[in-house]
């Protein structure tokens, strides 16, 4: 029996169309739009003005507050404006627009591709530098990495878990990265290990990426204390709490953090970004993005500068297919349909999926027949069929009691519902309201 998490889960068609595609560098766009809110927490404050010349890697916005992150220019050029624009979230938010003039990087970045394995910095220095370089969790939640590395007093991390699960169908950016940058990821892991002062590392990869598993296993032999574990393919195994359960069989308490069970988890993409930041002084201004879709000519994995418009990626992958119904930022399960292809790629964008018209339609909503399928697939042990009407009727106290805040919006309930009920839509609405109530409760104290 292979390892996986205990509760719920589904297995949607994997559709990893771009699995065999090598990472290609996307042409540097003529202009980039760099949103100031690419991470979880407070938006960054711009430190450049309209008309300023910037180089790739230069700090253009500083993290504002403890949970925030620095943002760097991804191209060399001139700041043309700082203005609100619609980003992937669908809301208007401030962003820095840069007209590209070339590809000059700031001098401190080491552009030599040779692997550097020796780590000269101390743990505290590493955490500080990661914060400076604007590294955030690249699995999708975009939580500032330096905050995650700062383990609260009184708590101790025992395991470092590296997430190479990539359980979302279609997406292959982590897969490609593991195959091509395995050694760098391994060094990145050592850096994280040093920063956290932990001994045990487990890399979790689903069994549909056997090549990545065997590749990393061979590399891991050089690093004592690092294990690579294959996992049974099941969505949403890439969820932090699910992965922790699958690998070390510990349950993160409701409302708690992984560090409460002495575990800290990072995505493989984050480990790679940490390697580049620490060993090469390179801030996070590019990432791997999968561009995929059944009708797309060449589904591929691109190395993309942050701020590149989605339309440029689609163009590079063979152009927008005629039958496209939705453009989704992220995977089909947790991704979000975007309102326009002109929105920019952000730090958390792992993929762009073009769903054909026929597949992007939602079914007609029918009454709930109490089949309880949603309960059996919910990885958090919630009761989606109940949460939806509670949210519709604005019974927020009840919603809170039913642990709506534990929902991680994986969408397994909506996926499995035979009556195509919009369970997640309403749960998300309820979560937003309950979250507001909880925050307002905390404020006066």
């Amino acid at each position: 029996m292979s390892t996986t998490f205990a509760k719920g889960g589904i297995h949607p068609p994997e559709n990893k169309l771009s699995a065999q595609s090598k990472i290609r560098d996307l042409q540097i766009p003529a202009s980039v739009i760099i949103p100031l809110s690419q991470h979880l927490g407070a938006p960054a404050k711009p430190v450049v003005n309209k008309g300023d010349a910037v180089k790739a890697g230069q700090l253009i916005a500083k993290g504002d507050g403890f949970v925030s992150s620095n943002i760097h220019a991804s191209v060399a050029g001139k700041v043309s404006k700082i203005e609100e624009t619609v980003d992937i979230s669908g809301y208007k938010r401030p962003a820095i627009f840069i007209e590209t003039s070339g590809d000059e990087w700031i001098e401190t970045i080491n552009r030599d591709p040779a692997l550097i394995t020796s780590i000269s910095l101390t743990g505290q220095e590493i955490i500080g530098k990661i914060g400076e370089m604007g590294i955030v969790g690249l699995g999708g939640a975009t939580f500032p990495t330096q905050v995650k590395l700062s383990v609260p007093r009184g708590k101790k991390a025992e395991y470092l878990i590296i997430n190479g699960v990539e359980c979302e169908p279609y997406l292959t950016s982590d897969h490609a990265l593991m195959l091509e940058k395995g050694e760098e990821i391994m060094v990145g892991i050592q850096i994280l290990k040093k920063a956290l002062n932990v001994e045990k590392v487990i890399v979790g990869i689903e069994n549909n990426k056997t090549d990545a598993i065997s590749h990393l296993r061979i590399l891991a032999q050089k690093y004592p204390g690092t294990a690579v574990t294959g996992l049974k393919v099941k969505y949403p195994q890439g969820g932090e709490k699910q992965l922790i359960q699958a690998l070390v069989n510990r349950e993160v308490p409701s409302g708690g953090l992984p560090v409460d069970v002495s575990v800290v988890a990072f995505n493989v993409g984050t480990a790679f970004a940490v390697y580049e930041a620490i060993q090469k002084n390179k801030p996070l201004f590019e990432r791997i993005v999968t561009v995929t879709g059944k009708s797309l000519k060449q589904p591929a994995n691109f190395r993309v500068r942050i701020g590149t418009q989605v339309s440029a990626l689609i163009e590079a992958a063979g152009g927008l297919p005629e039958d496209t119904g939705k453009i989704i930022a992220g995977g089909p399960m947790m991704g979000k349909a975007i309102a326009s292809p002109e929105v920019p790629v952000m730090k958390g964008s792992s993929g762009i999926l073009l769903l054909p018209e026929t597949e992007s339609k939602r079914g007609e909503i029918e009454p709930c027949i109490r089949c309880s399928k949603c309960i059996s697939v919910c990885p958090m042990g919630l009761e989606p069929y109940l949460l939806m009407p509670l949210s519709q009727k604005a019974l927020f106290d009840r919603l809170e009691e039913e642990k709506v805040m534990d929902c991680m919006e994986c969408g397994s309930c909506s996926y499995t519902c035979p009556a195509s009920r919009p369970l997640l839509d309403y749960i998300r609405l309820g979560k937003a309201q309950v979250g507001k109530i909880i925050r307002s409760r905390k404020k006066p104290a």
Binding site: E84, V86, G90, A339, P422, D425, R428, L429, A432
Partner: protein, 297 residues
């Protein structure tokens, strides 16, 4: 045979009498006194249980009215002054008259004025959409058109206009209970003073974007040009965040602002037509049609 019947009747009667006596004393002992005026007040309330007064139904409101010392902050918007004075008579108090109000939608971003930039095909609920993203058009402040307000209205005073995609308030049915104000996630409804003949002048826009951006996304957006603010002789107009607001109490319906507005975002409704120009369909070339002397209330 007969004796059996007799005994039965006697024993049951005795039992019944004992129970009656016990119940009588229990009722005396545990009697709850309820002010009879509560029933009387309640019978004078509209009985719609809409919650417009802020209390859980008419009974709850009646109880509050009877218990309270004054009518401060207590008003039934549905029954209006008539109901409140009837209640005041019962309770022997003075009711302060309030201007009757009506709900207005502060958005005129119809399909024609505000082009769609994307299509939403999820759940038909404004609340869900507004928690998800900015909406189907470039304007993030405007009506989402999924009729949460229509669902919330207990008086059938709101319905969707299929042509404009916007809800329409039926002034005669609207009781200004405020359910739509609460239901709209974009806060587009406002309760405004109700003029005679349901005349209305208001800025039908909530867009706080800068002028250029607002105008690009909607032809009838308020661009914050302050022309109306400058022309208003009664200081009824205030400017805030690139948006004009007309105070319905200070406004005297002179309509100067309407002619001044370059984007037709100020609506005049219920007035006799001014020559040709109707407010709903902005003319291609706005001709000079100012009537500076026209002041009517």
């Amino acid at each position: 045979m007969t004796s059996t019947v007799l005994y039965t009747i006697l024993s049951l009667s005795a039992l019944g009498s004992v129970a009656a006596i016990v119940l009588y004393f229990v009722a005396q002992r545990f009697r709850i006194f309820e002010d009879p005026r509560i029933d009387e007040v309640e019978s004078n309330l509209p009985g719609a249980n809409c919650g417009g007064c802020g209390y859980a139904g008419c009974r709850n409101f009646a109880e509050t009215l009877v218990k309270s010392q004054s009518f401060e902050g207590l008003f039934c918007p549905v029954g209006g002054n008539e109901t409140m004075s009837a209640v005041a008579r019962i309770l022997g108090r003075e009711a302060t008259a309030k201007d009757p109000q009506v709900a207005v939608l502060r958005c005129n971003g119809s399909c024609e004025h505000r082009p769609r930039t994307n299509r939403y095909d999820g759940v038909s609920s404004c609340a869900v959409v507004s928690a998800l993203y900015g909406g189907e058009t470039g304007c993030q402040y405007g009506c989402l058109g999924l009729a949460d307000c229509v669902v919330s209205c207990t008086f059938d005073a709101l319905h969707m206009d299929p042509l404009t995609g916007l809800p329409v308030v039926d002034d005669d049915k609207c009781t200004s209970c405020g359910a739509c104000v609460k239901a709209c996630p974009k806060n587009l409804f406002e309760l405004r003073k109700r003029w005679k003949g349901n005349k209305k002048i208001y800025v039908a826009c909530m867009n706080e974007d800068k002028g250029g951006v607002a105008k690009r996304n909607c032809a009838v957006a308020c661009i914050g040009c302050t022309k109306c603010f400058k022309v208003c002789p009664y200081e009824a107009i205030t400017m805030n965040n690139n948006l004009a607001f007309i105070d319905a109490v200070k406004c005297r319906l002179c309509r100067k602002c309407v002619t001044e507005c370059p984007t037709d975002s100020i609506l005049e409704i219920g007035f006799p037509a001014r020559k040709e120009k109707a407010p709903e369909t902005p003319a291609a070339v706005p001709a000079e049609k100012e009537k500076p002397d026209e002041i009517g209330a």
